[in-house]
Symmetry: C2
Subunit: 590 residues, 2 copies
Amino acid sequence: MPTFTAPLRDMRFVLHEVFDAPALWARLPALADHVDADTADAILEEAAKVTAQLIAPLNRSGDEEGAQWLAGEVSTPSGFKSAYATYIEGGWVGLSGNPAFGGLGMPKMLAVQFEEMLYAANSSFALYSALTSGACLAIDAHASDDLKSTYLPPLYEGRWAGSMCLTEAHAGTDLGILRTRAEPREDGSFNLSGSKMFITGGDQDLTENIIHLVLAKLPDAPAGPRGISLFLVPKVLVNADGSLGAANAVSCGSIEHKMGIKASATCVINFDNARGWLVGEANKGLAAMFTMMNYERLSIGIQGIGCAQMSYQNAAAYACERLQGRAATGAIAPAKIADPIIVHADVRRMLLSMKAMTEGGRAFASYVGQQLDLSKFSADPQEQAQAGALVSLLTPVAKAFFTDTGFDSCVLGQQVFGGHGYIREWGQEQLVRDVRIAQIYEGTNGIQALDLLGRKVIANNGVALELFTAQIRTFASQPDTPYASELLDAVQRLEDVSQWLTAQAGINPNEVGAAAVEYLHLFGYVAYAWLWARMAAVAQNALPADSDFYNAKLATASFYFRRLLPRTLSLEQSIRAGSESLFELEAAHF
Amino acid sequence: MPTFTAPLRDMRFVLHEVFDAPALWARLPALADHVDADTADAILEEAAKVTAQLIAPLNRSGDEEGAQWLAGEVSTPSGFKSAYATYIEGGWVGLSGNPAFGGLGMPKMLAVQFEEMLYAANSSFALYSALTSGACLAIDAHASDDLKSTYLPPLYEGRWAGSMCLTEAHAGTDLGILRTRAEPREDGSFNLSGSKMFITGGDQDLTENIIHLVLAKLPDAPAGPRGISLFLVPKVLVNADGSLGAANAVSCGSIEHKMGIKASATCVINFDNARGWLVGEANKGLAAMFTMMNYERLSIGIQGIGCAQMSYQNAAAYACERLQGRAATGAIAPAKIADPIIVHADVRRMLLSMKAMTEGGRAFASYVGQQLDLSKFSADPQEQAQAGALVSLLTPVAKAFFTDTGFDSCVLGQQVFGGHGYIREWGQEQLVRDVRIAQIYEGTNGIQALDLLGRKVIANNGVALELFTAQIRTFASQPDTPYASELLDAVQRLEDVSQWLTAQAGINPNEVGAAAVEYLHLFGYVAYAWLWARMAAVAQNALPADSDFYNAKLATASFYFRRLLPRTLSLEQSIRAGSESLFELEAAHF
């Protein structure tokens, strides 16, 4: 059975050396009180223990047993309940929560490292608290003080959990057509009726209460997405003193049987005149939900990195142990029956692809985390606004590119194992199944791509994009920047394609959808090129200290620029081929 | 639950219109007696019924129930036994078998269409007879007349099944180090001892007997791959009159728990002084096994096409029904709550990618089938030799490219379904799990790529490659050939890269492994470009008849050339980056 070891040295490299996070934290008052380099390292080390020792051991058994539904009640797999109880004692659920209500106030830049560990160890387990963090964000940002003080403390503690209730059977991507209704009551609360599906953690046996954030329509709501409001609907009603009261009219109708994340209960949740409270303004629920979506989407993106990291660890270890065939240039281990398969170029190609994309993703996630922290905590309004613009631009890239390439990495990590990769006990196939959902939920990756190209680049007139590319150009024009010319070529390609697409979209709106996914991938490869050049620069400067570590960074950067970045060539050509060939075939003739 | 409809019109298009197979069959005496256009069409129609009505309905239930192992006995899922009995009555197992021993003598070009239907309907079910066909080929080509007349008739009938016993726990790709031993007995037969794993259909409850083809070492065998012999080892010993005798010392130790093809029993098979008979010459077992491998590898490749075809059918139907969002250019179905998702450019991109790769694959499989038929039945020695050379060259491409792109297609077909793609009852996730094995077994796709580039291109001095590219050049230089210039560019790229790699491999043997997988993909895209141009040419000439059908071919060809063929650019650049960046990192630092 696979074991998990958190990549602490790599995480410290990104936090301290690439981004100098402690210096940033020191200058942001809201963070300076809570965290410095030593605190951060201590938290990461404790997180590594909790995820490796408490949570990872439940990953395989959780997959085999799955969440179960019986007579309206969900039970999580053996061991989850007691592990969850231990887990929340560490305060992990409120790690980056608002200290005014019991959160620990840690920077997102640190939290993303923890999230990676959690998803790597056990994606299903991770989801039970991931949704809580998201719900807390929405409540903290939009709910009344009364709701905040009632609900946030037990949510941050992990005694209660959160869920996001968006999807209905006929309304997934297209939330404007949802049917759940909210009728006002005389006391200012509402009665909610409707049925929601695909609700992650919609029911479970881990927490005393579950706080559903539900999108629904008021009686007088306008049609479409502008008529949606957000409601807080607890599973168990809460008394004025915060104690639990009667059951609310919320029930779990069934759970789904899925390809993966089987230990995570994906529920149908029925509201039958359930009592709820409005969060934020009426008819502005979608905007309120999107506040938390930037955080959630980054988190789900990190599921892609976490699973890929776990798959990589297993595959690299296996490749060093499994003896099969001989090196092309002559036996490396002549005394053994064969050489370890890591001598073979193609096995190295697979491992290096995984390594380059996973470490590139970790750096990118940390960068987006940094911008989230700046957009929340910076005292400089311009810095804050720019960081906010970058977060908007980069969130869809993080969500979709981490998970598309994370899935590819997990498939490669399975391939390294040959036939054993297909057998359940080795764990590699579970990672493929578990990570696959991350390309679908929290907005499919196709939707992320439309958001990026249509809203964040074209509708924004390229303003946010220029903020981003300007940073790359500034970095690349410094003396002694490694891979400067490759990086300048790459960023030029991104800018040219962006401008061309902006012009094309004005002529034919279908050009956006036709190019979106490939554009997002082009964007991702260019962003990783920047991050790999930054990591290579840090490694160059650090040598000759810790040469094994820094030389590995340089070798991986070299692989990235030579073997992976060329993918941008085909992406550009395919994008420039336009939408025409997508619309030659009538729907009936597919 | 998904239903399967065989793409008969498309199959007839490939057989009759693109390749004019009936004309070929008419001039090959061994085939002319058995098949003409009408027979072929009748067989395809019957095959469509059997696979859709008898076999496809067991696909989901077979996945849920799985093959079971209890006290040494394997049982297949409910319904398999009776369906198998009906299936073999149709003579399908011996479809392309030798008529001298009861086979139907049908061309491989026809058989590949049937295999596609079988894998599309139910990959697990398909495997129980796929291995029988392979075993028959090896027996027919290499065994003594006595063994042939005893074993082939009941195998072709399907009353008995075949298995291939190659892999051992420590020996998968590297068969030279296997440990199973064969001791000669005084009567000319052998006693086999050893343990084999990953044996597809190694045990089951469908047939009266199972005939294992086992690789083992004789006492005086030289070390390595030149010391391996092939043995026929029946599960139940066969009396002189062909009736069943005592049980042989062959047992099933366990079955694997796998990601997919769960209804197919993947067995550990133990031989404990089991009686067996030598097939072919001593110490030449690997070569004998490879006779059947070209057929098996093409068959496994077709699993990739079949699963992709099934996923495509489901996804196209879903995209026409599922209402979500509005077309970018304005509502298509304003009276409904939303437009069908097939209006969205990105959904079309996914569907067209699947369609172009699946139909390109079907044409390529048919072409390889044609060359297999020519290499077996042509009376012209030069034609026969050339066809044999093309089969050797193209088999690894077929196996790996069909399954790599078939897997990608199934992932896309899952993505089209959004959240429902992740739910078991919709069937799309099962196709992803089932097809995944095809990239691994029967020689991993990395091994196929090494075979192609190392053995079939470089070691062959490009002779077979030139046979292939010359056909493309001849076609492209005909007047009015559609996409002629794109095709000439593509084939030039393949030739240039091949020459460059041949030179590089002479300098550094690692260049072969470093480039192999990307080279195989480059080869595949160029081959599909040729086939799409051929299909477009046929469609152009056929119009205005059946315009919906032929226009769909032209639209798909247009999509292929504009949006998919550009992938060759990146593949070339990545290949030309060479092996250096794969070997900068020491094994210990991965």
